[in-house]
Symmetry: C2
Subunit: 592 residues, 2 copies
């Protein structure tokens, strides 16, 4: 008797941050999915820690931003230390860690292990999906219609639950419709697929150490770049009073296969002390340490056969210096997960999966480019790195580093409607994530972040900028829009779309019951959703966001904006242009 | 063999909101305490629901404000409906539910049962204190030194765990040092003490009903006062789409002992429909209903023998109309609980317990007075209640209704230092709760609500407005203040005090390590608390709170403010005046 065979819609290999975000979607869509991980336990120390504001927005859409914020070290200001004219280490400049107004969240730092824990907790609150640990992968085969199940479950992965023997009773053949390989820089999945990583190894070796420090260095609780005559040091504040130090280790090389042949904890601490001189540095508690040499590589392809996809470090490796690794990796899965889920749920046409690589490869390429520049910038020694250079450098890359500016429109994507009437919403960028502003609930006057209505629940959002409803002609237009929307395939497929209305006219102008019933009463007009219509007016205390102006939308005529389940804007059109919306949807949704 | 006798420091009778706030303090101080309740289960429906912004601040200091806010219906605006010139019910005016700037929290509504649940969850996270339910109280005796244990445990309460028989094995004699009676309007504890309630019964009968309504009344999700020709109706939005209706029932009287002799659910619904005419009103789901006649009474005394105290409805009853009942009741316990705990922990002198009644009786009296006026105001029929009257009425009582303006200075209290130099902080009111503003963390630039440092952890807070530390003379002054504070009894007793420093000079002016080590390094100067020193400067994006100006404190010289564990200001003085602070403390703290 051979090993047992089981069938699953989606198999996720690797339960790091990228794998867990894929699992989040699988759980939210109620997929028949499994998540396996090679390691017996969750990572608890070290590794990644930087969280961009866009990742915070994603966490918020999962409902876990509050927990992250409560524990994380928030990063407001970078301080730059260099040798002054007298040759003493001195504070040269303070610059903002994050540009003003990009997001309602602040970038912050929290250990990868804790983030994984929060993601797992969130997933387990929703459904039955749980991480299976200590599961070894033995082989991966892509079947080509050689048996009946190859049509539906083309990927075969042989796995073994460790802890038993090598006998068949611990081996299992998993047949999956789709596989997501989220198994890191040394990805087993990637190797099975025979994909190569292209790129280079930078010459510099850095040490990294997480510790509780006792020091008279006054900026130990904020991000610092210290350029001393004895090499460079980066200070990164962390949760629970910890601090992470990145220390440039010159004259140290890594042994074969990245073995820590020369550098030790003592080497790193000694280099850190030299760089911080004349300030003291004592280690009250060591949490983790490592040594790395930067490899900047990107995978040939991100998927094979339209059914095995790679995410995160499995397709791009780089230095930890730009604080992007975990973010870009999770955003890979955030992009891919809802698409695979939509296809498996028979909502989306399978060809939309091609947009994963068209949308994410440019991000990976930018990441490598920014990282190369960053590594070179920081590897430059001492005081010749001018303060102004640092500021310019940060500003040049800020849009990318924040994560909020990423868009795919100019690269083309079936999931972004290129002929959109972008001139109707000049403050909203087609392809980019929808910005969130404070709107006023029509029914109870409560100020509400628009983002709350765009939670990652798997639904597309049709945002109706309804314009000025005190004008009878505009109200009639809106009624026609609603009539057209009722017939659209988005709202016909249950659970795939949601309506959010933002009026330019104030709540006092027209009672909620004067609006088209579809907007607050469901398709039959009989339900009551008192959390679906909002107005763009001052709150009761007079604070005014002016969402129409910020979004560049005409306050009389309004417009129609459609956000994908990942909050990215897929369509912009006039209220009359539901036909174009239907054209867009016809290209991506399945007939039900 | 008689019943078993057990000994406890504090016995709390009643596990409603007032009893649980007392239990919160007992748990936070780690007291040997018990909470018993007559009922077999927690209330799950109906009863109180209004939460003032001050109560939200208290919840925030317990760490549960986020949970409450997430579930509650937030109350931003009151709409006033009356008959228009054509005799039709019409929206006459909208006024703010809460005056601008009183609190960082908004008043809201959530059922009493859910609040009790959140309080119990919070208490159980901290220690071992749990509510014992279905426990009947059989007798209460105040011992007068007739046995050895009367000295230490003067109160004897005989209780019986229900569910067993009447045999001795289910009966227990509890000897307590202190008892808090939080057992409601029909308080058993009060009757045992032979205390009387003084006051009157208003003639009006009201029905109250919690339901999910289907209606075309457009303001069903916000607070409304509806004055129709068919009597008055109040609409109060609630959590989970529910709404509470208060309906004036004219011609209906209550039977003996408040029996619901005439009014039924149908009576109430019919009266509500008449008042709302011509709008429809259907009940999609009934949650709870009741009928009440307003009794406005206050107890003769709030305590007996210096060891049995009454809180909440046990000492004041009134109508639910001002939305104060649960708030004032919890604030009673919030005031009493830390005092009893401090005495039991041998930090405070027993005479401070007298301040409970001196501080809370004026609040109860104001409550009755406001309630009488409110009931009369709303009982007035139809359109002769002018809109302007409503606005004036709300404005006149707003300070009281918000809960934030309550202060005890003018009534005198051993726990408020009357000779304080109040002119040094003209924006802070001696005796009133300390306002919270956003300050900037000195170590990491993170904006922080001052209130977070004043969490209800049982510690007194010494807030050092340190002034401008760029001036050498001011820094020297601060050093002298610190030297004097180290010798003060507050900081000598471990766990009884905490220091919070707010500089007027910016973070860039002086590194944290340039400040007196006491402020961030503990008494020995060797610890590191990076969350104890703040500056009053713009955040990195330029937003400036100007805390010194808001508090009316001189930006050069600063001052010293001391908050009690309940966040009320007990002392205001100059940085040099630690001697006065010691005088204040000598009168209330025990020698340790």
């Amino acid at each position: 008797m051979g090993p047992q065979t089981s069938y699953v819609d989606l198999l996720i290999i690797g339960a790091g941050p990228a794998g867990l975000v894929a699992a989040y979607w699988a759980s939210e869509y109620g997929l028949d999915a499994r998540v396996i991980d090679d390691k017996p336990d969750r990572v608890t120390k070290g590794h990644a820690d930087g969280i961009t504001c866009r990742t915070m927005e994603m966490f918020d859409s999962f409902g876990i931003a509050g927990h992250v914020y409560e524990e994380a070290a928030l990063d407001y200001q970078i301080r730059y230390w260099r040798l002054n004219a007298e040759g003493r280490l001195d504070r040269a400049q303070s610059i903002n860690s994050q540009a003003a107004g990009v997001s309602r969240f602040q970038q912050c730092l929290l250990s990868q292990g804790r983030i994984e824990e929060l993601l797992e907790d969130r997933i387990s609150r929703k459904g039955r999906l749980r991480v299976e640990r200590d599961v070894e992968t033995l082989g991966l085969t892509l079947h080509k219609r050689d048996d009946a199940s190859a049509e539906t479950h083309p990927v075969q992965v042989t796995v073994r639950q460790r802890g038993g023997g090598m006998g068949d009773e611990n081996v299992e053949i998993v047949r999956a419709k789709y596989v997501i390989g989220a198994d890191g820089a040394h990805s087993w999945t990637r190797r099975q697929l025979g994909l190569a990583m292209r790129g280079e190894q930078a010459p510099h070796v850095w040490g990294v150490i997480d510790l509780v420090a006792v020091t008279d260095f006054p900026d130990i609780r904020q991000t610092c770049v210290v350029c001393s005559e004895h090499g460079n040091l980066h200070v990164v504040p962390r949760e629970r009073g910890m601090v992470r130090l990145y220390v440039q280790l010159d004259g140290v090389s890594l042994g074969a296969a990245g073995l820590r042949s020369e550098a030790t904890l003592e080497t790193i601490l000694a280099a850190a002390r030299k760089a911080l001189h004349p300030f003291s540095l004592e280690c009250a508690r060591l949490d983790w340490w490592s040594v790395y040499q930067v490899g900047q590589r990107i995978a040939d392809r991100f998927s094979v056969g339209g059914c095995v996809f790679l995410v995160g470090d499995a397709i791009h490796t780089h230095s930890p210096k730009v604080g992007q690794g975990m973010n870009v990796s999770m955003q890979d899965s955030y992009n891919l997960g809802w698409k695979v889920s939509g296809v498996l749920k028979r909502q989306l046409q399978p060809h939309v999966l091609e947009t994963y690589e068209t949308e994410r490869r440019p991000v990976a390429e930018s990441l490598i480019a920014v990282d190369q520049e960053t590594v070179a910038f920081y590897a430059a020694r001492g005081d010749h790195v001018a303060t102004r250079d640092l500021q310019c450098f940060r500003e040049r890359h800020y849009a990318f580093l924040s994560g909020v500016a990423i868009q795919w429109y100019d690269k083309g994507s079936a999931l972004v409607y290129a002929p959109s009437a972008i001139e109707l919403a000049t403050g909203i960028h087609l392809g980019r994530r929808m910005p969130s502003y404070r709107v006023i609930n029509y029914a109870d006057a409560r100020p509400t972040e628009l983002a709350r209505k765009l939670a990652s629940d798997g639904r597309w959002a049709v945002i109706l900028f309804a314009g000025d409803l005190r004008k009878a002609v505009q109200l009639r237009r809106l009624e026609e829009t609603c009539a057209a929307l009722v017939r659209s395939r988005l709202l016909r497929a249950p659970g795939s779309g949601k309506l959010v209305t933002i009026t330019a006219s104030p709540r006092d102008g027209l009672p909620l019951t004067g609006l088209p019933p579809l907007l607050y009463g469901g398709e039959n007009g009989q339900d009551r959703d008192y959390d679906a219509v909002f107005s763009d007016e001052p709150d009761v205390y007079g604070a005014f966001t002016d969402v129409y102006a910020k979004c560049g939308v005409d306050g009389e005529k309004g417009c129609l904006v459609v956000c994908r389940p990942d909050q990215h804007v897929g369509f912009i059109g006039s209220l009359d242009d539901v036909p174009s919306l239907n054209t867009f949807f016809t290209g991506i949704f399945r007939d039900s």
